[in-house]
């Protein structure tokens, strides 16, 4: 009887334990399922609404300008952004830290008009064929392809920033501004607007690099290529715009003739020269081309004497006024100029050509001649000098147009990289390009680049002695004091 009772009690206990074990495991499984399901649902339903960008200059969010552009697109628009890589997980210290979160924001806020995906072409080789059936585009790995109706713009992550030119000449790439949104939104806008153009840079005349300017053109949907001077120099038929960007030597005669033919067929061009690169160059051949547009550049340097305009202590760097017809081209009424040659109307003007003053000095500027010994002599009396002019044929359809800048402060890599894409000069140049290419009829989007985070602090405080003090306090005194405290506590309590 007693044995039976024991067995019964044991059986009850076993059953109770089994039930409790089942209950225990069951509750854990149920909790796990609830937690995983709740997280998945929360992430997919509320995740995007409960994400907030508090970063400096909203680095990770699209601006109102981009949002307005996306809203203006029809609901059935599908812009596909494909990152030709695995989705990056480690973004720190890579350009992707500014790209991946921003692209996610495009996808979130576009209402399905922009999709973002990451496909590694090494894992899925067919992606290149899928995006670019005719093999027209250079879709290399680790770049982004912005695709719309069979057209593609390829963007390298490194093209989404402006860099300090001075540092890069020493092999260091120091980004100065974040142009990720600027690059992607412009790429989308150019694809959806249908605008396309091609610009050629006349090279081989000791001109400076034009990489920054090419990026600006690219963001405006204008492809660019070099056109080296040679004995067989010809201007390609697909050319919509010619750039002669800060040549240090004059263009050869045959190039001048080709340009004159180009002008006669309605070709547009932009010329920028300055005094700094070659003080004695008179550009007779280039002037012969400009003369065909009623313009001429002089061999002197503009010296500003108005104290409110002068930017350096000698007056060669100064502010210039924007002429009234061009005030819409910039948010600022004055722009920077430096070592400018005067641009003036040709002495024997053609009646059918209309010229416009674009940028002028104050009324107190002078033209200065640099003598062979390096000294200066004043060439003309105080007056207003033109630093940039515009010319076109009057009353003619598809008339040739040109902008001529006497300064490199609008087009040089050095200037653009130092001041970034948001600078008033760069903004002004962009609008000149839009104007001359007729781009405003397609798209007049203005997206700014964003300043990058800068964590450097007062250099007078980052001294070696201060660093030593910090080392002693944070790495020696504080940890050592705590270790001593630990030792004291241990010694006092070890026998308790």
């Amino acid at each position: 009887m007693s044995k039976d009772k024991k067995n019964t009690k044991s059986a009850v206990t076993d059953n109770r334990q089994k039930t409790l074990k089942l209950y225990s495991v069951g509750t854990i499984v149920i909790l796990l399922v609830i937690v995983v399901a709740a997280n998945i649902l929360f992430d997919s339903i509320l995740g995007k609404y409960l994400t907030f960008d508090f970063s400096l200059s909203n680095q990770n969010s699209i601006s109102n300008e981009t949002q307005d552009y996306l809203d203006s697109l029809s609901a059935d628009t599908n812009i596909r952004v494909v990152g030709l890589m695995d989705r990056p997980t480690e973004l720190n210290n890579t350009p992707l830290r500014y790209i991946v979160p921003l692209l996610d924001d495009y996808a979130t806020k576009s209402g399905g008009k922009v999709t973002v995906e990451y496909v590694n072409p090494e894992t899925y080789p067919s992606i290149r064929q899928e995006l670019d059936r005719e093999g027209q585009y250079d879709l290399t790995a680790d770049t982004f392809a912005v695709c719309y109706q069979g057209k593609i713009v390829s963007i390298s992550p490194y093209d989404c920033f402006t860099y300090d030119t001075e540092s890069s000449s020493y092999g260091y790439y120091v980004p100065t501004a974040n142009a990720v949104e600027y690059t992607f939104t412009n790429a989308m806008a150019n694809l959806t607007s249908g605008f396309s153009a091609k610009a050629y840079f006349v090279t081989g005349v000791e001109s400076d690099s034009s990489e920054q300017l090419k990026h600006i053109l690219s963001s405006l949907g204008i492809d660019s290529a070099d056109l080296p001077v040679s004995s067989s120099f010809t201007i390609p038929e697909d050319c919509n715009l010619i750039f002669i960007n800060n040549p240090q030597t004059d263009i050869p005669q045959n190039v001048a003739s080709a340009l004159n033919n180009y002008i006669s067929t309605g070709g547009d061009f932009i010329v920028a020269v300055n005094f700094y690169n070659n003080v004695s160059e008179q550009y007779p051949n280039l002037n012969s081309v400009l003369n065909e547009m009623n313009l001429n550049i002089d061999t002197y340097v503009v010296k500003e004497n108005h104290p409110e305009y002068v930017l350096d202590n000698i007056g060669f760097e100064a502010l210039v006024d924007i002429a009234s017809n061009y005030t819409d081209f910039s948010s600022s009424s004055q722009l920077r100029s430096g070592y400018a040659r005067p641009v003036r109307k040709y002495d024997n003007p053609y009646s059918y050509i209309k010229t416009d003053v674009v940028l002028t000095t104050s009324a107190y500027a002078t033209a200065v001649k640099i003598n062979e010994d390096g000294g200066q002599s004043q060439y003309e009396n105080e007056d207003t000098y033109n630093v940039a002019m515009y010319a076109t044929y009057e009353g003619m359809k598809d008339a040739p147009c040109c902008y001529v800048f006497g300064t490199s402060y609008f087009t040089s890599d050095e200037y653009i990289s130092s001041y970034g894409y948001n600078d008033a000069n760069v903004q002004f140049l962009r609008n000149c390009i839009r104007d001359i290419t007729g781009m405003n009829n397609f798209n007049n989007l203005q997206v700014d680049s964003k300043p990058l985070d800068d964590y450097s602090f007062d250099s007078t405080k980052a001294t070696a002695s201060n660093a030593s003090v910090m080392t002693v306090i944070f790495m020696i005194i504080i940890p050592l004091a705590l270790v001593i405290a630990a030792a004291v506590v241990y010694a006092k309590r070890k026998n308790l």
């Binding site: 796990l32 899925y124 602090f457």
Partner: protein, 255 residues
């Protein structure tokens, strides 16, 4: 719960453990800060992100004794025989370890003050990193407590939590390795390349979904999201619940 919290929190300072943990944290954070300071640019967010790598060492130190120590001393019987809710015991111990983490973090606040006084920037990304740091601390401390509850040995508890945290820290690497391995295996079995890659990618994504570091990486850039924080809290609750169940099981066994 408050009584348990008080007892556990003070016990950190009645033994060398609390001091040593804070000293270690001070030294490591100081090392990172001083290195940045010497370059003339201090990014507090980077410092906090680097400090997260030391969870793997610091969390086991401060959690290994939470339950294992009681077992060693034989005082755990009090939890099972006294009329208190075992979840309060777990929560009290968890809070005590979490508060110790808070005290450790005072070092970083001092670094922030020094940075500001040198005209440096303590931006929203830095505060985002701090928020993430504490939420990850919650998750890892709950793992450490669970490790401490399942074994009688502090050393085994420390090793277990070390491995768990290490695995979580390496999840992104593990996920890509696992994805590639599965894809390669399926290819070997004759499955079409794109299908096997898709399966591999699905596995990579599935494992990556569990990675709290990847989920919270945007905070340092000033992009705050509630979902990763919910993820950390909910999984911290899961581990605390697991700990509670382990204790409950022992209570039944004692009875």
């Amino acid at each position: 719960m408050i009584a348990v919290f008080k007892r556990e929190f003070l016990s950190y300072f009645r033994s060398p453990v609390g001091y040593i943990a804070i000293a270690l944290f001070s030294f490591l954070s100081g090392y990172i800060f001083v290195n940045n300071f010497a370059t003339g640019a201090v990014n507090i967010a980077s410092e906090v992100i680097s400090l997260r790598s030391f969870f793997v060492v610091i969390v086991p130190i401060i959690t290994m004794g939470l339950f294992a120590e009681d077992k060693k001393r034989g005082t755990e019987i009090l939890y099972y025989t006294s009329p208190i809710d075992l979840f309060s015991v777990v929560a009290g111990k968890f809070l005590a370890a979490f508060c110790l983490y808070g005290i450790m973090f005072v070092n970083v606040f001092i670094h922030m003050i020094v940075t500001k006084s040198c005209d440096g920037i303590v931006d929203i990304g830095a505060w985002g990193s701090v928020i993430v740091f504490f939420f990850l601390a919650m998750l890892f401390i709950s793992i450490g407590i669970f490790a401490s509850a399942i074994t009688d040995s502090q050393i085994i508890a420390a090793i277990f939590s070390f491995i768990m945290i290490m695995v979580i820290q390496l999840l992104s690497t593990i996920s890509s390795l696992a994805g590639n391995a599965i894809a390669a295996f399926l290819s070997m079995l004759g499955v079409a390349s794109e299908s096997s890659n898709s399966v591999g990618e699905a596995i990579t994504n599935g494992i990556n979904w569990l990675d709290p570091f990847a989920k919270t990486s945007d905070f340092r850039y000033g992009s705050f999201s509630v979902a990763p924080l919910v993820f950390c809290i909910s999984f911290a609750i899961v581990f605390l619940f697991l700990t509670f169940r382990v204790l409950e099981k022992k209570r039944w066994a004692k009875s």
